[in-house]
């Protein structure tokens, strides 16, 4: 197709238009707004698909499309353009974002049916799509930063969508702030690039990595890593993801599982050249990934809130991706591949969770579920497939991607390789454990349903879904608008992995962007695979022993120290609260006091002293003409003296 690049802008424009119309349109759009949003998202997906097939039609070399719209900030040597670059990596993301995005739009039509602010919800969703697409399509880091903060804004708006819930508002603020810390890293990285290379466009920067010192590259790399940590909820900036579950479930599915949180992986993969040239930074990436992988998994094990449990698992799965990205050319492709498959099955899982909550009066506590498989079969099946996919059940998509990552981790070689690989392997086990736990607590066992809470007393209840306090939930299958997306995603989570791995299709597809080299683990790949499956089965077994055999207590047992810590996100929040929040409050309070007393006091003090002095001088003005005369005479005398002295000198 001739000059297909002109279509790229449309990718972003369509959802952007939707956002503008829906947010500025006002109430008259309330009735049709969600359809408009969905259609535009779908349009964006269609354009993406067109471009994709067009791209397939080209040779591997000329597949990259560029579109230069206009010069954004031109100041002397500082030249930032609004220009797009669509290569295989971007294309992968475009399809994922628009595809999953569209599905979730459809899902939301049903899910948000009863919310009077549905129009605005779709506006925000479109805004998010636009920003996310901008992020992955940008051809320079500054424009990427634009999209980066844009998705942050969208996530802020969507997490805090039910603003009347203080918890939601706080969670939104927290998410944005933590992300801001990451953004700081990104902006510093851009500054470093500018001062080092004089530019921050992908092409020149990544091409010129050879011309500067490794130290500089390490610095840039670490800054990029900080940014990735913020956006992808990696340790130490992961604390916001759990709270982000305050947002409506479709949001959790789209933003906090499938797309936005994976932006960090995109960033690192995109900047692969930099990391390749800075091994230290690369190792740091891998370590962060490994740590988060375990962290998220442990947290996931302890949560009783289904969404929070899934959030923990998201964290840990992204940990896998980051770890893979930290392995260099060996892992980039697998990171992205896991990202895509994860996008499918995690989105599916979240939608399933949403469907369950929908049927259970928005109950999120898994201890109050149980035995739901009879009541919502479709949800059960799709959720189950997602479950199998995520634990990496052989044949399903999760297996293909995760297994490769574990291999690559071992292939790192040396002790590092063993440690990273071991962690990845262990993570797979824990994943199996907590996902099985979720599965069992939700769909199996006996009913542990509780009467619906009063929405006024329990602010966690999502509004718009009519809840009659005290009424027992009557689980029912969700409307078709919700089930269809779940089914489609389930298909994705079953077959995507196998599809991608057909004679390394995915790897070859990405190879031009992220040069690929085969990793050679110390032990044979087969061994790794087998051990993975074994670990997986162990995890499932333990979970079954704990939750399948015995009845699940409705009230959570006190649990071991680790469990209790894990319930509180391994005390991360407490740490933040004590160190940052408290300290900050004290600092600001004392500063306010100082500003008033010290800085202001000095000035007012001088004023007061001048006043006092003049008050004393004032006494000289006693109004007696004669004393004035005295001063006159004295003055004259002084003058004469002065003149005499002058003439004397």
């Amino acid at each position: 197709m001739e000059n297909a690049e002109n279509l790229i802008a449309l990718l972003v424009a369509a959802p952007l238009l939707g956002a503008a119309v829906l947010l500025c349109g006002g109430r008259r759009l309330d009735r049709a707004g969600h359809w408009l949003g969905t259609v535009l998202a779908a349009a964006s997906f269609v354009i993406g698909a067109v471009l994709f097939f067009d791209m397939l039609g080209r040779g591997a070399e000329e597949r990259t499309l560029r579109q230069h719209l206009f010069s954004w900030v031109p100041v002397e040597s500082f030249q930032a353009d609004v220009a797009f670059q669509l290569d295989q990596l971007s294309m992968t993301f475009v399809l994922l974002i628009t595809g999953v995005g569209t599905l979730i739009h459809v899902y939301s039509i049903g899910y948000m049916a009863h919310d009077e602010r549905r129009r605005r919800f779709f506006g925000y969703l479109n805004l998010f799509l636009a920003a996310m697409l901008l992020l992955v399509l940008a051809d320079n880091y500054l424009l990427l930063y634009f999209g980066w903060e844009g998705v942050g804004l969208a996530s802020f708006l969507l997490i805090g969508f039910w603003q009347h819930k203080p918890s939601a508002a706080t969670a939104a603020k927290k998410a944005f702030l933590v992300n801001r810390v990451g953004d700081m890293g990104l902006s510093i990285a851009i500054m470093l690039m500018f001062t080092t290379f004089g530019t921050f466009a992908f092409g020149p920067v990544l091409a010129a990595t050879g011309e500067t010192s490794e130290g500089m590259l390490t610095a840039i790399g670490l800054m990029l890593l900080l940014a990735a940590c913020g956006k992808s909820a990696q340790v130490p900036l992961q604390s916001w993801l759990g709270d982000a579950m305050e947002g409506p479930t479709p949001v959790s599915a789209l933003i906090h599982a499938a797309t936005m949180v994976t932006a960090g992986v995109y960033l690192i993969t995109r900047s692969g050249a930099i990391f390749n040239a800075a091994p230290d930074a690369q190792l740091a990436v891998a370590v962060v990934g490994a740590v988060t992988l375990l962290f998220g998994a442990i947290v996931g094990c302890a949560k009783d809130d289904i969404k929070k449990a899934l959030a923990g698992s998201t964290m840990s799965q992204i940990g896998y991706m980051i770890l893979a990205a930290g392995l260099g050319p060996v892992g980039y492709a697998f990171a992205i591949m896991h990202l895509v498959t994860h996008g499918f099955f995690k989105a599916g899982l979240f939608l399933g969770a949403g469907s369950v909550m929908h049927g259970m009066n928005d109950e999120v506590d898994m201890r109050k579920y149980g035995g739901l498989r009879k009541y919502m079969p479709v949800t059960f099946v799709t959720f189950g497939l997602g479950y199998l996919a995520i634990i990496g059940f052989p044949g399903l998509s999760g297996f293909w991607s995760k297994d490769k990552i574990i291999e690559a981790a071992f292939a790192k070689g040396g002790t590092e390789g063993w440690i990273l690989g071991g962690v990845a392997l262990l993570g797979a086990g824990i994943t199996a454990y907590y996902m099985t736990r979720v599965m069992l607590m939700t769909f199996f066992g006996e009913k542990r349903w509780q009467p619906a809470p009063d929405p006024d007393t329990a602010p966690s209840v999502e509004p718009g879904i009519e809840v009659h306090p005290g009424e027992m939930p009557h689980p029912h299958e969700s409307p078709r608008s919700m089930t269809i997306p779940m089914i489609l995603l389930a298909f994705g989570s079953v077959f995507a992995g196998a599809l991608f791995s057909l004679n390394g299709a995915f790897v070859n597809w990405l190879r031009p962007v992220t040069d690929f080299e085969h990793g050679h683990p110390p032990v044979s790949a087969a061994t790794v695979t087998v051990s993975t499956v074994v670990v997986l089965l162990i995890g499932v077994g333990i979970a079954y022993a704990q939750y399948g055999r015995r009845p699940v207590p409705v009230v959570a047992p006190r649990g071991s120290l680790l469990t209790r810590a894990a319930r509180r996100d391994l005390l991360q929040d407490d740490f933040n609260h004590i160190v940052l929040v408290r300290g900050g409050e004290h600092l600001t309070r004392s500063l306010v006091y100082l500003d008033h007393t010290l800085v202001d006091g000095v000035v007012n003090g001088t004023a007061a002293s001048v006043g006092g002095l003049s008050g004393r001088l004032r006494k000289l003005q006693n109004g007696f003409a004669r004393s004035y005369a005295v001063s006159m005479l004295g003055g004259t005398a002084v003058l004469i003296a002065a003149t005499l002295l002058m003439r004397g000198v």
Binding site: V73, E76, H164, A172, V599
Partner: protein
């Protein structure tokens, strides 16, 4: 001798001010419309200035020059460079919105009992006075952006204090904590503080101006600058430094730079929202503008000498202002401290001595004007509805007045310089420009970004979200007049955020000139330097 466009641009509001003041007491509405019309006319003239100005042309264009006080070589000399054009445009653009936003601010005075007895109610015309003063300020500010004669500039720099004093002290915020007397006392305190601070600065500057005359023999900025550049006019190092400090002090008070900032929160807190916007978005810009135009051009060596200290002060302003903003309980004071932080960015950009920094600073002046105007005016609408400035008195506004909350959020996002909104471009330019020369300063300054997000979002969360407070339950959403005020501002913020090129094109040549004045070049990227 072509049509004196610059004089006209400044003269129109001045004349308008007199006419507005002359409107009889009973015809309040007429006065308002007159003032609005005049401000719009000024906007048209300012647009003409921007059109007639060729970025590629001479440094100063549309110049006018007439002898004024022959004995001291004081001339009535006008001329604009890109920076001046940008700021004149900003001023002319903001004033109509300020007038619209303050449409009813002075009425309560006119009808309230606090006015004088019915005896001379005939001559009691607060509304007329309010708008006349605003127009007067506009005239002076515009002229000070045009003046290329140091003495002329000084006079305007001082003269604009008088109307500002009355605007702050005379037309305070009705929404206050405590009794009327209490509020009046605080108000007069704020007004006097504003006046004293700026007067002290002005006096020190006057000394420096006289000193400059003694050294240079005339007041013409262009001539002195040329003489300096061509080396005809030598200054002893210490003389130059002293003169520089004299000028800089005055501008730093106006800007305001830490630790000379404490007048701003009081003034902005006590004044009505439109006046607060006038202070921070328009009048204070004269200070930063003058740093660029006078300090750097007249005393390049001294500027370079003082740069490290100033950068440090600017850094303190950035972090300190942001931290104090976090600690505020009063919406308007919070915005004031945020402005202090932003002024820190502007000053840092000016003295980073890189083209990115200085263009960024100039853009920042414009963008900060727009963003603060948007945020402060919406805050003003909010406060006028509830009658309180305390953050704690609000909550859940988003539910009852979504449009108000939305605009407030956009203003806030602009304040925390979100990409896509104008301030981001300028802030990032300043950061990059500073980082190129002073990496540590650049990194510390980026912490300001996080803090900005903190105070903005905390403000938004506490006022707009959460359960609806009973007091705000009946709060009406934005009215048409208010939408007319906020809408265009937000549109501009978005446009300049995505397409700031028109602005940068105008500003860039002027910055290039300034850079050559201080004989500074952008540091080369490491890679090229290596080659």
């Amino acid at each position: 001798m072509s049509f004196p466009l610059l004089t006209a641009t400044a003269a129109l509001p001045a004349v308008g001010a007199i006419l507005t003041a002359a409107v009889p007491a009973t015809r309040r509405t007429a006065a308002k419309w007159l003032a609005l019309a005049v401000s719009l006319g000024t906007l048209v003239l300012a647009a003409l200035v921007a059109i007639r100005f060729e970025p590629g042309g001479d440094r100063y264009q549309l110049t006018e020059s007439h002898a004024w006080i022959k004995d001291f070589g004081v001339r009535y000399e006008l001329g604009v460079d890109g920076i001046g054009v940008a700021l004149i445009a900003l001023t002319a653009l903001l004033i109509p919105f300020i007038i619209l936003a303050g449409w009813h601010d002075a009425d309560s005075l006119a009808v309230s009992d606090s006015g004088p007895a019915a005896g001379h109610a005939k001559r009691w015309r607060p509304t007329q006075g309010f708008f006349a003063l605003i127009l007067m300020v506009e005239a002076m500010v515009i002229l000070s952006f045009e003046a290329t004669d140091v003495f002329l500039f000084y006079i305007l720099f001082e003269a604009m204090l008088i109307p500002m004093y009355f605007l702050i002290g005379g037309f305070g915020d009705r929404a206050h904590a405590g009794t009327d007397e209490n509020a009046a006392a605080q108000r007069s305190y704020a007004a006097v503080k504003f006046l004293l601070y700026n007067l002290v600065g002005g006096l020190i500057m006057l000394a420096a101006v006289i000193g400059l005359y003694v050294v240079a023999g005339n007041f013409s900025l262009t001539e002195i600058a040329e003489a300096r550049a061509s080396g005809q006019l030598e200054m002893a190092t210490n003389t130059e430094r002293l003169l520089f400090l004299g000028f800089f002090f005055a501008f730093a008070v106006k800007a305001p730079l830490w630790p000379l900032h404490t007048w701003l929160p009081n003034a902005m807190g006590e004044a009505t929202a439109p006046v607060a916007v006038l202070i921070t978005a328009v009048v204070d810009k004269v200070g930063t503008f003058a740093m660029l135009r006078f300090c750097l051009q007249l005393f390049p060596e001294a500027s370079k000498w003082a740069t490290p200290a100033i950068i440090v002060l600017a850094l303190i302003s950035i972090v300190y202002g942001a931290l104090l903003a976090v600690g505020q309980r009063d919406i308007k004071r919070l915005i004031a401290y945020a402005s202090i932080s932003h002024f820190g960015f502007i000053i840092m950009g000016i003295f980073a001595m890189t083209s990115q920094g200085q263009s960024g600073a100039t853009l920042y002046m414009v963008n900060h004007g727009l963003s603060t105007a948007a945020l402060m005016l919406v805050a003003g609408f909010l406060i006028s509805r509830r009658g309180s400035r305390l953050i704690a008195d609000y909550g859940g506004v988003q539910k009852v007045a979504p449009v108000l909350a939305g605009t407030f959020l956009v203003g806030g996002l602009a304040t925390l310089s979100l990409p896509g909104l104008a301030p981001f471009v300028s802030e990032f330019l300043v950061l990059v420009g500073t980082f190129a020369r002073y990496p540590v300063a650049g990194i510390i300054a980026t912490f300001g970004i996080v803090l900005a997000a903190l105070y903005t979002l905390v403000l938004y969360q506490r006022t707009m979200t959460g359960p609806v407070k009973p007091e705000v339950r009946a709060m009406p959403d934005l009215r048409v007049r208010e939408l007319v005020v906020v809408g265009p501002l937000i549109a501009l913020l978005l446009f300049l955020g995505v397409y700031p090129k028109p602005l940068t094109e105008i500003v860039e040549p002027a910055v290039r000139h300034t850079m050559s004045d201080v004989q500074q070049k952008d540091p080369k990227p490491e890679v090229e330097a290596a080659k």
